[in-house]
C-alpha cells in the first residue's frame, strides 16, 4: 500500500511533551487575540474551519480515507442548528446538540454506503453523496433554497453567556475548538488511533491480524463527520446564517486544501492551513475569480512540491512530530 506520511514517528514521551507545549502556546495565543486588535470575526471563522479541517484530517491523515464530501456535514449541522434555533426556538446548547446529532446520523448513513469501497472510489462516492444532499437542500422548503436561513438568534448559552456579545462568543467558539481538538488528539493517540494508522499503512495486514477494518474505518468516519458537524453548528453562531455555500462541492475542496496546505496527518497542520486559507480569502476578496485560480495553483504546487505541507515540512526539518 502507500505511505501518506513517510516519516511516521513512534509516540515517545518527548514527542508528547513537545505537542503539549505547542498546544499550550497555541491556546495562549488564541486566548490573547481579543486584546491584540485583530478582527475577532475573522479568527472565529478561522477557528470553525480549523476544527473542520482537523476533523477531516482525522479521516485522511490517520485513516487514509479521502472524503471529498465533508462539506455535507458542515452544511447539514449548520442547517439543522439554524432551523432549531430560529424556528423551534431552542436555546444555543440544544441547537448545537441537535445539529451535531444530525451530522452523526448522516455519518452513519453515508458511511454505511461508502465505507466498503476503498481508495479512489471512496472519494468519488462521498463527493456524489454530498452533491445529492446539495440538490435535496436546494429543493427542501426548510432551507429556503438560494436564500438560506438568515437572521439566526444567538441567544444565551446555558442561560448565562450572551452570545450576541462578540467577546463572549469568541471565547465560547475558542473553547469549542480546543475541546474538539483535544478529542481528536486523544483519539489519534488511543489504541483505536493506532489500529487506524495500521489500516492506513497496510489494510490487508491489519485484516490478517484479526482487525475488522471496516468497523474501525466506519467509527473514524462517523467521528470525523460528527466533529465536522460540531464545527458547522458553531459556525452558525458566528455567521448567523446557513446557506447552500456550505454544502457545495467547492467547500469540500476548500477543506481538503486547508488540510493539504497545513500537512496531511500532522496534528497542528490543519489549524495552520485553515488560518492561511481563510486569511488568503480575506485579503484577496477583491480579486474575484482569481482566488479560485490561486487556490488551484496552491493545490498543484502542494502536491508537486511539498506534499508534507507547512507543518509537515517543519516537523521533518526539526525531526519532531507536530
Amino acid at each position: 500500500m502507500s505511505a501518506l506520511t513517510d516519516d511516521t514517528l513512534p509516540m515517545t514521551p518527548r514527542a508528547m511533551r513537545d505537542e503539549m507545549i505547542v498546544f499550550a502556546v497555541m491556546a495562549a495565543l488564541l486566548a490573547a487575540v481579543p486584546f491584540t486588535g485583530i478582527y475577532p470575526f475573522f479568527v472565529m471563522q478561522a477557528l470553525c474551519f480549523a476544527l473542520l479541517a482537523c476533523a477531516f484530517n482525522l479521516l485522511i491523515g490517520y485513516g487514509g480515507l479521502l472524503s471529498f464530501g465533508h462539506a455535507m456535514f458542515l452544511g447539514t449541522a449548520g442547517y439543522v442548528s439554524a432551523h432549531a434555533l430560529k424556528v423551534w426556538g431552542l436555546p444555543p446548547e440544544l441547537g448545537i446538540v441537535v445539529g451535531v446529532a444530525a451530522a452523526a446520523l448522516l455519518g452513519l448513513v453515508t458511511g454505511y454506503v461508502s465505507i466498503k469501497r476503498q481508495g479512489i472510489y471512496f472519494s468519488m462516492i462521498t463527493l456524489a453523496l454530498s452533491q445529492l444532499l446539495y440538490f435535496l437542500y436546494l429543493q427542501a422548503p426548510f432551507t429556503h433554497g438560494e436564500d438560506g436561513i438568515q437572521g439566526i438568534p444567538q441567544g444565551h448559552l446555558f442561560g448565562i453567556f450572551d452570545l450576541s456579545k462578540p467577546l463572549v462568543l469568541y471565547y465560547v467558539v475558542l473553547v469549542g475548538f480546543l475541546a474538539g481538538f483535544l478529542l481528536i488528539y486523544r483519539t489519534i493517540n488511543s489504541p483505536f488511533g493506532e489500529v487506524l494508522k495500521s489500516i492506513r499503512e497496510n489494510e490487508p495486514r491489519a485484516i490478517s491480524l484479526g482487525y475488522k477494518t471496516d468497523q474501525y474505518k466506519m467509527l473514524a468516519y462517523v467521528l470525523s463527520g460528527t466533529l465536522a458537524g460540531f464545527a458547522g453548528s458553531l459556525k452558525v453562531f458566528v455567521a448567523q446564517n446557513a446557506s447552500l455555500t456550505d454544502v457545495h462541492w467547492s467547500m469540500s475542496g476548500e477543506i481538503v486544501l486547508m488540510t493539504l496546505v497545513g500537512g496531511l496527518g500532522t496534528i497542528f497542520g490543519p489549524v495552520v492551513g485553515a488560518f492561511v486559507i481563510i486569511a488568503m480569502q480575506q485579503y484577496l476578496a477583491g480579486f474575484g475569480q482569481w482566488v479560485t485560480v490561486i487556490q488551484g495553483v496552491i493545490f498543484v504546487s502542494c502536491v508537486l512540491l511539498f506534499r508534507r505541507g507547512l507543518v509537515g515540512e517543519l516537523a521533518h526539518l526539526l525531526r519532531r512530530s507536530l
Binding site: L4, I60, R117, Y121, M124, A128, V303
Partner: protein
C-alpha cells in the same frame, strides 16, 4: 407521449456525454492510475475551443470536431508530461488532488474572462431543422449527437479491445515493466492515452456546445455525475462504461418525465442503491 419521447431523447444525449466522459476516465485510470478530476474542465475547454474557432477564426463546426479534441488533447499531454507523470508510484489520492487543482485553475481563468453566463453556439446549417418520425419530432442535431457519440464510443472500444495498439495498451495496464522490457515506449503510451481520454472529453464538449451553451462551469457539476456513473459501472470494462453511461442518461430522462423533482438526484440515488446491493459496482472488479 410526445413529451416522454422528447425527454428520452434528452436522456440519450446526456447519456452520450456520460458515456464519452466515463470512457475517458476509465481509459486514463487504467493507464495512469489517476482519477482525472480535470475531465469536466477539459470538456468545457473543448466547447470553448469550438466557440473561439467559430467566432475568431470563422472556422466551422465540422473542423471544430477535429481541431478541438486535438488542441485539448495536446494541452492534456503537456499537463501529463509536466505534472502528472511525477505522481507515478504515489497514493491515488494525490492524482485526484492535483487534477482537482488543475480544474480550479482552468475554470477560474475562464470564469474571469467570460463570467458565469452562457455563450451561444449555433447549430451548423447542415444539421438544422428536424424530421417527423410519425411518433415524434426529431431535431436533426440531437439525433446526430446520439449517433455520432455512439460511433465514437464503439470506435474507442474497437481500438482498445481489438487492435495491436490496444493490446499493447492493455498489456501496459497490467504490467508496465514487462511491456517496457519488450521494447515498447510505455511513458509515451501513457502520455498518448491521457491525450486520447482528454480528447474524448473535448469532443463531448464540442457536441454539447450548440445544445447546452458554452459556460465556464458547464463541466463542474457534470463531472460529479460522471463520477457517480463510474462508481455504478466500475472502471474495469470499456463496454461497461459505454452501456452504463447511456443507460443512466435514459433513466435520468425518464425521471424528468415521470418525477421531475428527482431528475438531478436520480443518478446519485441509483449509485446508493447499487452500492447497497452490490458494493463492487455492476461490472464487478474490486478496487
Amino acid at each position: 407521449m410526445q413529451a416522454l419521447y422528447a425527454q428520452l431523447l434528452v436522456g440519450l444525449i446526456n447519456g452520450s456525454f456520460y458515456a464519452l466522459l466515463s470512457l475517458g476516465l476509465a481509459v486514463i485510470f487504467g493507464m495512469l492510475n489517476i482519477i482525472n478530476f480535470a475531465h469536466g474542465a477539459l470538456y468545457m475547454m473543448g466547447a470553448f475551443v469550438a466557440y473561439f474557432l467559430l467566432n475568431l477564426g470563422g472556422i466551422n463546426y465540422w473542423w471544430a470536431l477535429i481541431i478541438a479534441p486535438v488542441v485539448v488533447g495536446v494541452f492534456g499531454m503537456i499537463l501529463e508530461r509536466t505534472m502528472l507523470q511525477w505522481l507515478a508510484g504515489l497514493d491515488h489520492l494525490y492524482g485526484l488532488l492535483l487534477t482537482f487543482g488543475i480544474a480550479l485553475i482552468v475554470q477560474g481563468v475562464f470564469q474571469n474572462y467570460f463570467g458565469s453566463s452562457g455563450l451561444p453556439y449555433s447549430i451548423p446549417d447542415q444539421l438544422k431543422g428536424g424530421v417527423n418520425l410519425g411518433f415524434m419530432f426529431l431535431p436533426i442535431y440531437r439525433g446526430w449527437v446520439v449517433i455520432f457519440s455512439l460511433v465514437v464510443c464503439l470506435a474507442t472500444w474497437f481500438l482498445i479491445e481489438k487492435t495491436q495498439l490496444g493490446a499493447y495498451l492493455r498489456a501496459a495496464t497490467e504490467n508496465p515493466t514487462l511491456v517496457r522490457a519488450f521494447g515498447i515506449n510505455v511513458p509515451r503510451m501513457i502520455t498518448l492515452t491521457y491525450g486520447l481520454g482528454v480528447g474524448l472529453a473535448a469532443l463531448a464538449g464540442v457536441l454539447s456546445a450548440p445544445i447546452n451553451q458554452v459556460r465556464p462551469l458547464m463541466g463542474a457539476d457534470l463531472i460529479i455525475v460522471v463520477f457517480a456513473v463510474v462508481v455504478i459501472g466500475g472502471m474495469g470494462s470499456i463496454m461497461g462504461s459505454i452501456i452504463t453511461g447511456f443507460a443512466l442518461g435514459v433513466i435520468e430522462g425518464l425521471t424528468k418525465y415521470f418525477y421531475p423533482e428527482a431528475s438531478n438526484t436520480v443518478v446519485f440515488v441509483l449509485m446508493v442503491v447499487v452500492l447497497l446491493v452490490k458494493p463492487t459496482g455492476l461490472t464487478g472488479r474490486a478496487a
